[in-house]
C-alpha cells in the first residue's frame, strides 16, 4: 500500500511522516514516531488512554486517521513538561498518588490540561464530568480529582 506524506506539528515541533491511509493517528504516533507515552486501551474511543489535543481540542487519537493530521498541531503527554520541570498537573498527580499502574495517566493528564486550558477554575463536578471520557481501573478516581483541583489552583496562582 503506497504511503502518504503528512506535514504536521507535534508538541510545537514541525514533524513530517509517511503513513498508510488506514493507519490511525495513535498508530503513527506510537509506532512510526515513537511517542509511546500515548497509550492504546481500547482502540475504539471508549477509554481515553490515547487522548491528545488537535489544535487545542481534546480527541481520542485512535479515532482519527493519521492523514487527517495534515496541517494540524498535536500535543501529547510528552509535550506537557518543559526543560524547567513538570507541568503542575504532572506534579499534582505525583503528590496526590493519583496513579497506580499508570497506563491511563497520560490520557488523564492530557485531558486535564485541556480542561484547565478552557476552564481554569473547575468545580469537582465539572472535573468529574470532563474526565468521564477517561477510564481508570486502579484508583477509584478520588486522588485524580483532587490532583486536578490542586493543579488548577497552582496554574491560576502562577498565571
Amino acid at each position: 500500500m503506497s504511503k502518504i506524506h503528512v506535514q504536521t506539528t507535534i508538541n510545537e515541533e514541525a514533524t513530517e511522516f509517511l503513513c498508510e491511509p488506514r493507519e490511525s493517528l495513535l498508530e503513527v504516533l506510537r509506532e512510526t514516531l515513537g511517542f509511546t507515552g500515548t497509550k492504546e486501551g481500547c482502540n475504539d474511543g471508549n477509554c481515553g488512554a490515547c487522548s491528545v489535543t488537535l489544535d487545542g481540542v481534546l480527541i481520542d487519537s485512535c479515532l482519527m486517521l493519521a492523514v487527517e493530521a495534515e496541517g494540524k498541531s498535536i500535543s501529547t503527554v510528552e509535550g506537557l513538561a518543559n526543560p524547567e520541570g513538570l507541568h503542575p498537573i504532572q506534579q499534582a498527580f505525583l503528590e496526590h498518588a493519583a496513579l497506580q499502574c499508570g497506563i491511563c495517566t497520560p490520557g488523564f493528564l492530557v485531558a486535564s490540561k485541556a480542561l484547565l486550558d478552557h476552564n481554569p477554575e473547575p468545580s469537582e463536578h465539572e472535573i468529574r464530568h470532563w474526565l468521564a471520557g477517561n477510564l481508570c481501573r486502579c484508583t477509584g478516581y478520588d486522588k485524580i480529582v483532587r490532583a486536578v483541583l490542586e493543579a488548577a489552583q497552582t496554574v491560576r496562582a502562577s498565571a
Binding site: 500515548t38 503527554v77 498518588a97 497506563i103 468521564a132
Partner: protein, 769 residues
Amino acid sequence: MSVFTSKDYPDYTDDGKYKVIGTRPIRHDGVDKVTGAAMYGGDVRLPGLLFGKVLRSPHPHAKILSIDTSEALKLDGVRAVATADDLVDVVDKLSNIGETTVNVREIAKNSLASDKVLYTGHAVAAVCATNPHIAEEALDLIKVEYEVLQPVIDVRKAMADDAPLLDENRTTRELGEDSGKKSNIASHNQHAMGDLDEGFAAADVVVEREFDTATIHQGYIEPHNCTVWWKKDGTVTVWVSTQGPFEIRSQVAEVLDLPVSKVKVMPCEIGGGFGGKFPTYMEPAAAIMSHKTGQPVKMLMSRTEVFQATGPAPGSYMKVKMGVKNDGTITAAHAYMAYEAGAYPGSAVGAGAACILAPYNIANVTIDAYDVVVNKPKSSAYRAPGAPNAAFASESVIDELAEKIGMDPMALRLKNACHEGTRRADGTIFGKIGCIETFQAAKDSDHYKSNLEGANRGRGVAGGFWFNGGGMSSAAISVNDNGTINLNEGSVDIGGSRASMAMIVAETLGLTADDINPSIPDTSSIGFTGGTGGSRVTYATGHACYNAAEDVKAEMCKRAARQLEVEEGQIEYQDGRFVCTSDASKTLTVKEVAASQGSTGGPITGKGSVNAGGAGNAFAVHVVDVEVDPETGKVEILRFTAVQDVGKAIHPSYVEGQIQGGAVQGIGWALSEGYFYGEDGSMANPTFLDYRMPTCFDVPTIETILVEVPNPASPHGIRGVGEVPLVPPMAAIANAIHNAVGSRMGELPMSPDKIIAALQDAQLSEAAG
C-alpha cells in the same frame, strides 16, 4: 471550594516511631509515568520486529475439523503461522500461576486450540507479518472447518445431566475422589463443621435466598501484550506486562518443553492486572513464530480479544441459608456455590468457599462448592478471587436476618464477628486478626452515625474477608559510594510497590526514600519471586527487602569497625549511625561507611530471601448510601466509606488507593458490569462502550478508614491490602437498595432493568395483598 493538598493526608508513622514508613513520598517510577517515558509491554521495540495476530473461533463450542494456512502464508509480508500442530504434546501437569493452579496441557490448548474450540474467541491459529495490518489480512485467508456443537454458557444448565459436555472424558471429582461420572462439574468439595440440622432447629428466624452473578472482567486498561524472541542460541526472551514474570517463565518453559534456564522474562511496566495477568495467552504462539523466523514477534490483543479470550471472573449461582436467634446469635449456615470455571476447570470457587462466612463465628456450617466448566473463556483470578461473589450472597442474607429480628445490621455482625482462635469452616484457626476492630470502626464512623434522609434513599453495610498471601520473594541491595542504595526486588510494581519497598529499606538503614533506587530486574537477574497477586507483595517482598537491608546493616557494622579501628563487636547501629559502644564519640553515618567501602573490604551488598508464612488476614467493612430512581432504575452512590484492617500502612496513599480502586470496581460489579450472551452463546458486549465500567462521574469520593492491627509475622505489622476491598461492595449496595426501596436484589449486576423489575414485582405482590 475546598482544595485538598497532600498536606491534608495524615501520616501513619505511629507517633514518630517511624521516620519513613507511614509517610507519603513521591513514588520512584512516578516521573516516568507522568511524562510518558515508562516502558510498558506494548511499548517494546526491537530490531527486525514482526507483528503477530490471532485467529479466534467464531463459535462458542465446536470441533475443529481442519485448518488450512497455505493461502495466508502466500500473502506478501507474512513470515510465519502457528497452530496447535506446532506445539509439543504437553502432558497433564499442574502448575501454580500465582493465585490459581492450572493444568499446563490446558494452558497449551488455551493458547492454540487443537481438537475443539470451547468459547467464542478461543485461539485457533496465529500469523506474523512485517506489519500488524498484513497479519490481520492474513487471518482472513486461513480456512478453518468446524463442526458446530451446542454450547452451554449457564452454570446451572451446564450442571444438568443432559448438558452438552465440553470434554467427553471429564468426570466429576466428588469430595476428592473420581466419581467416574461424566459431567461438566469438574469438582464438588465441601467444608462442614457442627450439626446443620441442630443449628437451624435452634434458630428463631431462618432465611434462604438464591443469587446469580454475571461473568465480569478485571477490566485493566492495558490489553495483553507480549514480545518473544527465540534466538539462535536456543534462549527465549519474553517481554510482557505480567503480574508474575516467574509464573510466565514457568508456563512458557512448560508449554514449549524448555528448561526454565533457557527462558528469560523481562517484566515491563504493567497497565493493571487485578489477577488477570498471570496466565500466558499469546506467548506460545509468538515463541513458535519467532523460532520459525529467527526474529522477535510482538503480539497485542484488541479490547474485544481481551474480553473474549482473557480474564473473566466467574459467573456464579449460589444459595445461602442462615439461621439466627432473636438475640442475634447466628446458629447455622449452609452455602451452595456453583462457579463457572470457563473452558477449563479451576474457577475460584475453592477460595470463595473458604471466604464466604469467614468473618463470623458460627458453630454449624456446611459449604458446598462446585467448579463447573462452561463455554466461556477460562476464568482467571480477579481481586480476592471467589470471595466477592460469595460475600454478595452471605452478606445479603445476614442483612435480611438483621432486618427480621429487628437488629442493627452492624450490631448483628459485631455480635458474631470472628476473633483470634475462631475456627473457620475450612478448618483454619484464626491468628491475630482485626475483624472486630474493623466492624467497630465502621460502626463508630461519622458516616454510619450520620442520618440519611430523603425518599428512595437507603444505607447498606457489608463485611468481607480475604486470606492475603505470603510465599517466596527475593531482594538484593548494592550500596553506592555516595551512600545511596540500589535495590533489586522481584515484584512487578502494579500500583506503587517500588515506593513501599524503598521505604522499608530506607527505614531500616536510616535513609530517606529518595536515597533508595528500586528496580525490578528480569527473571535471570533476581531470585525467584512469586507474582504480584494475593495481596502478598508488601508483606512478603517487603520482608525480603527488610532482610536485605538488615544484611547490609550487619555488613556495615563490620566495615565501620574497620574504619574506626575498633573491635567488630563494638559497633552498634543507632538511628542512622554506626556507634562504638565503648566510645560514643566514635561514630560513622551510613554515608560515611558507604564512601569508604573500597578500603574496608570491597563493595557492600546484601540479600534477602523469604518464604513468608504467617500472612495476616484482611477484613473490610463498607458503608454505602444510595438513591434509587424509581422511574429509571438508576442507582446513584451518594456516599461510600470503606473501613479496613491494613496491618500497617507503609505508604498510606497507595493503601488508600487500593481501597478506593477496589471499592469502585465493586460499584461496577454491583451496578453495571456483566457479560451479556446472545442466543448464539457469544459475548454480545465485548467493548468498553457496552461493558460499562464506572467513570469518575459515576462515583463519589470513596472515604477510607485505615485500621491498623499489626500482623505479628511481619517486622512492621504488614498485612496485604489490595484484594479485600472488592469483597463487600456488591452486598453493601444491594443492602442499601433494599433499605431504600424495600426490594431484595438477588442478581448481579443490579442494572436499571433489574431494579425496575424488582420494583414492579414488589408492586404486584403488594397489590395481590
